[in-house]
């Protein structure tokens, strides 16, 4: 069954002529059609994908194909594409077609990947369940009554159900890692500045980072390889050499120290998750790693800090959606002020408006010092916690989430409990460091459990290697929900 294969295997199959790109794309398009009820996609580019597949096969016949030519992937609908509309999960951009391709989209296309469609997401990436999407919620393939996580829930559900072998996502507070954990996948949030943000619709500019959601660390490495690197169009992307992520897999992890923060293993976490995390850590010990106790004393400040900084930046980033140049504009209005108010009131959903209001408040005269400036100070302290921890250990491990996938509707009307589902992931964004989530087991309801591994800045290759080593000796990542076998 080709759809059950990883990018790495599919690449070999294409190369050996065991399958054509057209056959492969058809296979995934059929599955997307068949499992429409997951609502993983906002748009599918059947025609475009088949045309790209045909030319991929052509290139291969002419001997001009790369190892990646013809491999299908999907993009989170936050990445701007010329081929399909880019909605960001919002009514505001329901019919918006970007005049340009995001750098990530452009780079992946250039090396041969075929973009098959755009995946569902929380509106403007604001959410942890893909329930705030204007285009309806995405279901978790492991239990359709449950959320796939968010905001990159569409990408995670699509890969988990093998509607596509891998997908891109973005992560501002956990939006790659949390859905990866909920769907039994490997998701990597790179260091801030590793992947270009050009063409990635901004939610919170100082926290947003694009990254891969894949079946394995190997596939994540393959995608990251072609996403990462300096982009002159993004002043915050960094001129750091991109290592060969595939080549650095399979290094021995013997002697590496894994820090285990006591703050991440408390009673607020599901027992099944704690058990799975401990077994995973034991597995790492067997591979030669050493566990040491560490502390990240200011972790608890992560959520409040994030919910000042992210909304503050969002309130400004989303000002451009004003009905003037593109996107939604209200039907009737008397004057400019009314046009703005009605357009933004009708075009944005509740959570987006909620965060714009929080952010506007936090930046207002008289509140700036108490909220925004204070949050920036806390952010520095949180980053320092990690720096101090990395004096004692090479990586930090803990649960990705405090619970497994929750029920649809369970938390949507309780923002704070929703926000708490990102409690372990959010500090990583505040510190700008990389982290990966890998599947390490299932709870008693059969829902996947994720372990998060955090590393020092720009050590994505180390995280990928650690995960890959773990995946060589475990098979959690090969599990598939029955219905999608």
């Amino acid at each position: 069954m080709p759809y059950r294969q990883t990018l790495t295997v599919l690449s070999a199959m294409l190369k050996q002529g065991k399958i054509s790109a057209v056959e492969l794309v058809r296979c995934y398009l059929d599955r997307i059609q068949r499992f429409q009820n997951l609502n993983a996609f906002i748009a599918v580019d059947e025609e475009g994908a088949l045309i790209q597949a045909e030319s991929a096969d052509q290139l291969r016949m002419q001997g001009e194909a790369t190892n990646l030519t013809g491999l299908p992937i999907a993009h989170k609908d936050i990445f701007c594409t010329r081929a399909l509309k880019t909605t960001c999960g919002s009514r505001m951009l329901e019919n918006f077609v970007s005049p340009y391709d995001a750098t990530v989209v452009e780079r992946l296309a250039k090396v041969g990947f075929i973009s098959i469609g755009k995946t569902n997401m929380d509106e403007f990436a604001m959410g942890s369940s893909t329930e705030t999407s204007y285009f309806g919620h995405t279901c978790n393939p492991w239990d359709r009554n449950r959320v796939a996580g968010g905001s990159s829930g569409g990408s995670a559900a699509a890969v988990a159900a093998r509607l596509v072998p891998a997908a891109t996502g973005t992560d501002t507070g956990g939006s790659i890692r949390q859905p990866a954990a909920f769907c039994g996948l490997t998701g990597l949030k790179p260091s801030y500045g590793r992947v270009s943000r050009y063409g990635m619709i901004a939610y919170a500019s100082s926290l947003d980072q694009g990254g891969p959601i894949a079946q394995t660390a190997e596939d994540a490495a393959l995608l990251l390889q072609n996403m990462a690197g300096l982009d002159r169009k993004d002043s915050t992307s960094l001129d750091r050499q991109v290592p060969d992520y595939m080549a650095t897999l399979n290094r021995s992890i013997s002697g590496l120290k894994i820090g285990v923060p006591k703050e991440f293993f408390d009673s607020s976490v599901d027992q099944s998750i704690l058990t799975a995390a401990h077994s995973a850590l034991a597995e790492f010990e067997k591979l030669g790693a050493q566990l040491i106790d560490i502390s990240l004393p200011n972790s608890a400040a992560g959520i409040p800090c994030y919910y000042v900084i992210a909304p503050a930046e969002a309130s400004s980033n989303l000002s451009r959606f004003d009905g003037v140049r593109y996107g939604y504009r209200t039907e009737s209005y008397g004057d400019l002020k009314e046009m703005y108010e009605k357009t933004r009131n009708e075009g944005f959903g509740a959570e987006v408006k909620h965060r714009i209001m929080i952010g506007t408040f936090a930046l207002s005269t008289g509140y700036y010092d108490a909220y925004y400036r204070k949050a920036q100070q806390i952010r520095r302290i949180i980053a320092e916690d990690f720096r101090n921890a990395f004096y004692h250990c090479d990586y930090i491990a803990g649960p990705t989430t405090p619970t497994t996938a929750f029920l649809l509707g369970e938390k949507i009307s309780d923002p704070v409990s929703m926000y708490l589902s990102d409690i372990f992931t959010i500090t990583v964004n505040l510190a700008g460091i990389p982290a990966i989530s890998m599947p390490v087991g299932f709870d008693n309801k059969g829902l996947p459990i994720g372990l998060q591994l955090t590393g020092p800045s720009f050590d994505e290759s180390g995280l990928l290697n650690m995960t890959h080593r773990y995946q060589q000796v475990t098979d959690w990542h090969w599990q598939l929900p029955k219905e999608y076998l």
């Binding site: 503050a312 140049r325 506007t360």
Partner: protein, 477 residues
């Protein structure tokens, strides 16, 4: 009661970069609407700003020129407000940490020099233009100007009268053009001014409540707007009223200012550091580059012109008012070596011709080399001053260099004594009556007779020879 006005100015200097401050789109003026607005300027979803290094270098050059502190580390901030000409819904500007702090500009007021402090100069982007009732009664937006780099120069409230404000503005205007960072075109909005005005009783140290004046788009309107506003404030206070902190618009047609919004209605811009742009770092290389691009400044050059070229202060001032004019002067002198005549010809004929034909200096057909040549021909007596004007006219009309014109029009000066004497004889014979009157003591007739000789030689006779020989001949008769 004696009142004193206190004025501080905020000047938006449009920087002459080829591309915009945060995108690669062109900044040229006058293109078709929205032709020079790329997706970054139009704030499409997902776009990001990238700082234009040249704009930063220009700001540094300005900072160096006014003796300011060039901040090695400055921060871009977002100024948030909604308006259709502002595509992102925020303007990228600098707030807490500007690129330039401090410095001063010296102005001259009837031989007294005054130093006007500069608070800061910061980089920011311009907005687009809203065209009201453009299409079917609807407004349209031209984003060509959006993202054009601006340097906002904020003065201390050191100015005490509209005249001082104008002197400061003219000095600043001259400086930015000298530095080659702004074309100074006020009609096209390349140099725009807002003013903060308050009044107080003379001798008071506390500042009065200020009003901000906008829409002052020419030196004349700035002066008139300030005059009106000062008068309005004084009258209001004298009538027992109170000044409200407001933003006011100057209406040039009615020659008055009108309240636009009060302090209470003022925007809360919610400034915060722009997370899309790392801090602007001016390293040693950039500083050295800006320093090497720094020309000799007008004040220094003016002093050098009076000292080295022995020019009158007024001429030196005029000749150094524009960098290219001063360059033109020095070039010309390098060809002819005669600074005073060069100054006379430039401030006289050249400027008059440029003015008459509405041309810029760079459009002049008369090059420094040609003018230098002309002055050399006068000094070696090849032509007289009168003929030189004719030659200049010829050069202005594109007839070639002085030697060609003198030759082709046969304008060379006649210095042949025999030839001149024969014309003198001819005139003496023809105007016997006048000769008699002269000999009877009417000295002023002499000029008439010289004129006749010059007329007869079409002005080419060497006037010195004519004068000497005519007098000799008349007295020996």
């Amino acid at each position: 009661m004696q009142w004193e006005s206190v004025i501080g100015l905020e000047v938006h200097v449009q920087l002459m970069t080829k591309s915009k401050i945060f995108s690669g789109a062109s900044t040229a003026f006058g293109a078709k609407a929205n032709d020079q607005a790329c997706e970054v300027d139009a704030a499409f979803p997902g776009v990001l700003p990238v700082m234009n290094r040249t704009a930063a270098l220009m700001a540094v050059r300005f900072g160096l020129a006014i003796g300011a502190t060039v901040n090695r580390y400055s921060v871009f901030a977002r100024k948030n407000y909604f308006y259709p000409d502002l595509p992102k819904g925020y303007q990228i500007s600098q707030y807490e940490l500007p690129i330039v702090s401090g410095g001063e500009i010296k102005i001259n007021l009837q031989d007294v020099q005054k130093r006007i402090g500069i608070t800061r100069a910061h980089l920011e982007e311009d907005a687009g233009k809203l065209l009201h009732n453009n299409v079917d009664g609807q407004s349209s937006i031209d984003l060509n100007r959006a993202g054009t780099p601006l340097l906002e120069v904020v003065s201390e409230p050191d100015l005490r009268s509209p005249a001082e404000a104008i002197a400061y503005l003219k000095k600043l205007h001259k400086l930015v053009r000298y530095l080659g960072i702004c074309d100074g075109n006020m009609q096209e909005g390349s140099f725009r001014c807002d003013a903060n005005v308050s009044v107080r009783l003379l001798g008071e140290s506390a500042l009065g409540t200020r009003c901000e004046l906008k829409n002052l788009n020419s030196f004349r309107f700035i002066e008139k707007g300030l005059q009106f506003e000062i008068k309005r404030q004084i009258e209001l206070i004298e009538d027992g009223g109170q000044i409200l902190q407001q933003t006011r618009l100057y209406d040039p047609d009615a020659d008055l200012t009108r309240a636009m919004r009060s302090k209470e209605e003022a925007h809360d811009y919610r400034y915060f550091p722009d997370p899309d742009l790392p801090p602007l770092v001016i390293d040693d290389i950039m500083l050295a580059e800006a320093r090497s691009d720094l020309p000799e400044l007008p004040d220094v050059r003016c002093m050098r012109f009076t000292a080295d070229y022995k020019l009158k202060p007024t001429d030196a001032e005029l000749l150094t008012s524009e960098r290219d004019l001063a360059d033109y002067f020095e070039h010309t002198v390098s060809f002819c070596g005669d600074s005073r005549n060069t100054a006379n010809w430039i401030t006289g004929e050249l400027l008059a011709h440029l003015n008459r034909d509405g041309l810029h200096l760079e459009e002049s057909r008369v090059t420094p080399e040609m003018l230098g040549d002309l002055i050399t021909r006068i000094n070696d007596n090849s032509i007289s001053g009168t003929i030189a004007k004719e030659v200049f006219e010829g050069m202005w009309n594109g007839e070639g260099n002085p030697v060609d014109i003198i030759t082709s029009k046969n304008l060379g000066q006649i210095t042949d004594i025999d030839q001149i004497n024969s014309v003198i004889d001819q005139v003496i014979n023809e105007f016997t009556q006048q000769v008699l009157e002269y000999q009877n003591g009417q000295e002023k007739i002499f000029g008439f007779l010289v004129g006749k000789v010059m007329l007869e030689t079409k002005g080419k006779a060497d006037p010195k020879i004519v004068t000497t020989n005519l007098r000799n001949k008349l007295s020996s008769k």
